[in-house]
Amino acid sequence: MFIADIRKDFYEVVANQRVVLLVAPDIDALCACKILQALFHCDQIQYTLVPVTGWQELGTAFLEHKEQFRYFVLINCGANVDLLEMLQPDDDSIFFICDTHRPVDVVNVYNDTQIKLLIKQDDDLSVPSYDDIFRDEDEEGEDSGNESDEGSEPSGKRRRFDEGAVERRIERQRAKREWEARRREILFDYEQYEYHGTSAAMMFFELAWVLTKDTKDMLWWAIIGLTDQWVHDKITNMKYVTDIATMQRHVSRHNHRNEDEENSLSIDCMRISFEYDLRLTLYQHWSLYESIYNSCYTSCSFKLWTLNGQKKLQEFLADMGLPLKQVRQKFNSMDMSIKENLRDVIEESSNKYGMKDIRIQTFGVHFGFKNRFLASDMVHATAALLESAEKDDSETDNFIKALDALSRCAKETKFTLQRLNLLTFPLKMSSFFFLLFSLCRSNIDRLHSGIALAKKKLIAIQQTVASCICTNLILSQGPFLYCYLMEGTPDVKLFSKPMALTLLCKYLLKAFVHSTRNKRCKLLPLVMAAPKDVEKGTVIVVGIPPESETSDKKNFFGRAFEKAAESTSSRTLHDHFDTSIIELKTEDRSKFLDALITLLS
């Protein structure tokens, strides 16, 4: 059931209890998790945090912890599936689900005891009403009772009643069949399209605000969660703008102290500011040229995979009067005179080249003299850390690294704590501080390494997109477009991860739409496959909705994949929380594809 008052029905319920947090591997979930952790620290609510990457891990984690814990909080997982059936919990386990995946499964909505949904009842939920789906069992009992009576004693007297009873029975059965058919139809319509709702991080920030325990850190995490939804194309533009406005109110509320000249904050404090900034990814941590070259929006508008496109880019830069030498060096080292009006200059020029939306509303943070980040920078850095394809790190290691990168303070290692305990005798102060500083590693370093990884990822995406378009790897299969990344493609390891592959998919579709002349192809969705594990022989398949300005981002591939897999009995693994991402055995690829084509045409 939906929770009406998040403070009373969620926070005060878990206030003196111990909770398990099961967190999905996406940035929004990470941010929501950090906000919730900060709240729990304030109120000393004991918890255990377990990262889960798919349904199987969710099940395992639940089994491991169900003896010791009663309350489970699921972040960005669990709403779109019948949780009680999947996990088979005891009657006293209670689940609090804060998930952006829609549609919410009807069982989760109408279960009053064990499932509590921390989801706002937005307009876009459109849950079917109770009577349409669930029917009381009593009526069926009556039917069968009557039938057995009539079946056992057919005598003359009863004949008259028989006819009436038989008619009524037939009537009831017909009504039941009709009702069931309608139910199937309603459920099919409801569950057909998968989409995303309000960010989980924003939900938890609202909880913090209601408790008046919100801080700037939490606000920043909420902003990052929202920006993640926008960067990975999960919500519509309208929703993004509306949510930004909500966040802007909070930001101005937190910022009012800055304006007071006498009591201004120190430079080390965190300051969040609203920016109407350029849509160039990571441009402040890169060179302007690289950023324009590797950002999806600009690269698709200029068509930078063609020679013509590159010439246009040079023209564009010349039009703005930016010398190449300046533009190719690190952004921080560009001349101040160029940097001053950069945004306006770029906006003016890009309007001439047909890029009307080069600027986007977003937020930036800065603390200390060196550290300035935009929300999208943080999202890209953390996403790159979360999905880094290094051999030694397991997925939970990456999760921990990404979680660390979101915090601001210097990290204290366990060794430091040990040494502090041993230092009960007075040592000379200088050696003490030397020890302390040499053992601390700042989380900002981790963030910077994330930014470096993100740059590599973006360059890889750009190159893969260019090669796919130039070699015509995207084929139209009728109802959708299809692209398969061969094993030998450079950087294909990066694309064995779901978020990176989805990003590549979206860029590719956008680029394709800009490059093709076929009007019909522009309206098609895209299915993309990439090798996931060479030893096991699996591929990862992702489907995204068609690209358009006013798209509502509703994805029907989840159900389509399921049905296609069933009908061809392909060996698939529907493990991800996003149902439009599956794993498939390489051998079954072609028959799966054929089934999908027949299904959708």
């Binding site: 004991q46 255990t48 990262p51 010791q68 939970t396 041993l422 040592l427």
Partner: protein, 194 residues
């Protein structure tokens, strides 16, 4: 020269940085005591001679030897007292059961166990019926609970109120500080500051 052995003992302790306990230098101590005995014998005989024969010339040497004796005594007591203080610190550092590598160097087991006993009875006498463990939280803690991250699979871990926590690699927990300190020292958990 007199008193050199005694200074050796002191230097040995001074060389070892604070907190470490070198092996008990029985040899050195015995040598110092022997020296003291020799000095004392000589002094005795000289005093008797001076008294009986009235030779005042012996008085300075008697005085010298006496000073050396006092110096040796002071050095030896300083040595023993400093070792005592270090052993006491071990109790506060490691708890009542010392790890094997530390116990190797100690010879004053008796004193240590006596000290343990008196500390325990003192702690029991505080704080009403249950007693108060004053060896925890030597510095006032910032918070009662800390966030820890599990570095290796440690299995199940029980807290004071009976609840059991499963310590799996890379899971994070928010637990009472005093329960975690032991595991942090062992390297199973890592304190996370955020």
């Amino acid at each position: 020269m007199f008193c050199e052995k005694a200074i050796e003992l002191i230097r040995e302790l001074h060389r070892m940085s604070d907190g470490q306990l070198p092996a008990f230098n029985e040899d050195g101590l015995r040598q110092v005591l022997q020296e003291m005995e020799a000095l004392y014998e000589q002094n005795q005989s000289d005093v008797n001679e001076a008294k009986s024969e009235g030779r005042a010339k012996l008085i300075p040497s008697i005085k010298l030897r006496h000073c050396c004796l006092l110096r040796n005594q002071r050095c030896v007591t300083a040595y023993l007292y400093d070792r005592l203080l270090r052993i006491r610190a071990l109790r506060w550092e490691y708890g009542s059961v010392l790890p094997a590598n530390v116990r190797f160097h100690m010879c004053a087991e008796e004193w240590f166990s006596q000290y343990k006993k008196s500390l325990a009875s003192f702690m029991r006498s505080l704080g009403g019926n249950e007693g108060l463990d004053i060896t925890q939280d030597m510095k006032p803690p910032k918070s009662l609970y800390i966030e820890v991250r599990c570095l290796k699979d440690h299995g199940e871990f029980e807290i004071d109120d009976g609840t059991v926590i499963l310590l799996k690699k890379n899971s994070q927990h928010f637990l009472p500080r005093w329960k975690c300190e032991q595991l942090i020292r062992q390297g199973v958990l890592e304190h996370v500051v955020s």
